[in-house]
């Protein structure tokens, strides 16, 4: 007889009827929490087997523009018309007479292209696990892959949009200077910072669905707060300085735009991003390790 539950003896049944109350305490917390290194271990694993997220990123990009005559160049055309129209209008509205309006095109092109990349990555990572609920519930639990898939899809878009930056630099009198060597340092810094925040948001957004909506509003606001369509030199007074220097997006955009468009290496801004990087990644690693066993339950 291999029955595992013996027929309840009256006395025992009574006892076990009472017992439940005693231990409904906090014994339910999931044990064996992953180590703080879980995020980094999972990222290493994801880079060892990049098939799914790389192919997924390519498929996502390809599908978005399939069966369109212009295909992926819609991305470029959307951005291009934005840069041309806003550049033409605001260079007349915002710039002082006699100011160099041509460099303004390069300014807005670089800022806007980077902004799209940052905004899309952050926005979509806050509900990335919910979007992939079906796959997660059915056993594909390499959470890092979903974020990397999204991030690399946006990198592909960014690569297309680079055409606009290149065009703006060629057509406007922006000089290629020695400062451009700083891009070797600053571009990876921006990517790492954005990726770190993506991981953080993906986890926090899975736990608190409100984050997705919050990000939508906040990012819309920051598009106007951040010097993308305006230039820091246009503002006057300390209040404008606060909008610039307390704004994380300013640093991310400036460390690429500074060397590229203005030929200066913004060491202070680079320092800020480099200093924030470890903080972002430690927070992301902590949140990821804490959340990993629960993600499937939250979404």
């Amino acid at each position: 007889m291999e029955t595992l539950v013996d027929s309840p003896v009256p006395g025992e049944a009574q006892r076990s009827g009472v017992a439940p109350k005693k231990d409904t305490g906090d014994t339910g917390a999931i044990r064996g929490r992953p180590s703080i290194l879980a995020l980094f271990q999972d990222i290493v694993a994801a880079f060892k087997a990049p098939g799914f997220w790389l192919y997924g990123a390519w498929i996502d990009t390809s599908l978005r523009h399939r069966s369109q005559a212009l295909g992926a160049f819609w991305m470029v055309f959307g951005t291009l018309s934005f840069v041309l129209l806003l550049g033409t209008l605001y260079s007349r509205v915002l710039l002082r007479p006699g100011a160099d309006s041509q460099i303004y095109y390069a300014h807005i092109a670089t800022g806007f292209v980077l902004w799209i990349f940052i905004q899309q990555s952050l926005q979509q990572s806050s509900n990335i696990y919910k979007k992939n609920r079906d796959m997660i519930q059915n056993g594909y639990v390499k959470y890092v892959d979903y974020v990397l898939r999204l991030f690399s899809a946006h990198l592909i878009s960014l690569a297309y949009n680079l055409l606009i930056i290149v065009g703006a630099i060629l057509l406007t009198p922006v000089h290629v200077t020695a400062a451009d060597f700083a891009l070797i340092l600053t571009v990876p810094l921006v990517f790492l910072a954005v990726l770190g925040v993506c991981f953080l948001l993906s986890v926090v957004g899975a736990r608190y669905p409100d984050i997705g909506e919050l990000m939508r509003s906040v990012l819309r606001l920051f598009f106007f707060i951040t010097p993308i369509i305006w230039m820091p030199s246009m503002g006057k007074g300390a209040a404008v300085g606060a909008f610039i220097y307390l704004n994380p997006f300013y640093y991310l955009i400036e460390i690429i735009r500074g060397p590229l468009v203005y030929g200066v290496v913004p060491w202070f801004e680079i320092g800020v991003v480099a200093g924030a990087l470890p903080i972002i990644w430690v927070l992301a690693a902590l949140a990821y390790a804490r959340a990993k066993p629960y993600v499937a339950l939250w979404i």
Binding site: V5, T27, G28, A29, I30, Y55, N138, Y208
Partner: protein, 264 residues
């Protein structure tokens, strides 16, 4: 290498916080508090308690139990989607779950692209996928339409494709849910042989089903569940007999069966 699954006094609970509890709008104070406290104040609803079992290579295990007995939860734990709250669960061996074959299909992508996507998500390399394609096409009979988007396929064709891709990877531990009995008769007949060889190639099968025939056919052992507890663990015939007897209905389990011993 021989695979095994070993669970010792495994519990699984879910936090009972609902969407409403967490909503800032309805309940701002508790939502903020839950941000700060590390979860001590949360309550948990136990779904599985005190499960112990050991499956070794060669075992064909049927999970039997009424709806809500914890079959799917157990499969999700075995699949690694969920993590036990307490106790131990050790799984050694490459696990594949066919809880839902058509997971992750992109309906706008072509059949071929979906083969790659699914192949990669099963952990294959590009080379390995390429090698499997002829055989997948042969089984699914989709060669003429493989460059069309999957959304233009009939549901039967989609099922065949998903099934062909899923069964082209040979795992050591195979988790199967009810779905195989779904699908039209034609598909079931056609796929049966392929599924059986797929099962044969695996070392351990864990199969959740309500159908006694299928269970008898596929399984050698039965694990009968009731309210998240293992109430019977043994030969499949005896397990089914136990499940259908009045004894199963008569078992009354306490709300939490934490201390219950269940050894083989």
């Amino acid at each position: 290498m021989s695979s095994s699954i070993c669970a010792q006094n495994m519990h699984f609970s879910i936090p009972t916080a609902t969407r409403i509890d967490k909503s800032l709008r309805r309940n701002p104070i508790s939502a903020l508090r839950s941000l700060v406290t590390s979860g001590k104040s949360r309550r948990f609803k136990p779904l599985l308690h005190g499960m112990s079992f050991e499956f070794c290579a060669g075992d064909r295990v049927g999970l039997i139990g009424q709806n809500g007995a914890g079959k799917t939860t157990l499969l999700r734990l075995l699949a690694g989607v969920l993590v036990p709250s307490e106790g131990r669960l050790e799984i050694s061996g490459v696990t594949q779950n066919l809880l839902n074959v058509s997971m992750g299909m992109q309906s706008d992508a072509t059949g071929l692209e979906n083969i790659y996507l699914r192949g990669y998500s099963a952990g294959l390399s590009g080379q390995e996928i390429k090698r499997r394609i002829p055989e997948i096409l042969e089984f699914s009979e989709l060669e003429p339409v493989i460059h069309d988007p999957v959304r233009t396929y009939s549901s039967g064709m989609q099922m065949r494709l998903a099934f062909a891709v899923a069964t082209s990877v040979k795992p050591e531990i195979l988790l199967l849910d009810e779905w195989i009995s779904a699908g039209d008769r034609f598909f079931v007949e056609r796929s049966k042989e392929r599924l059986l060889s797929h099962i044969d190639a695996s070392e351990i099968l864990v199969f959740a089903s309500h159908s006694p025939q299928t269970l008898k056919e596929l399984c050698s052992r039965g694990l009968v569940l009731k309210s998240g507890t293992v109430v019977f663990n043994g030969d499949i015939e005896a397990a089914l007999e136990f499940y259908e007897s009045d004894e199963y209905q008569a078992i009354e389990l306490p709300a939490r069966g934490g201390n219950r011993k269940s050894e083989r």
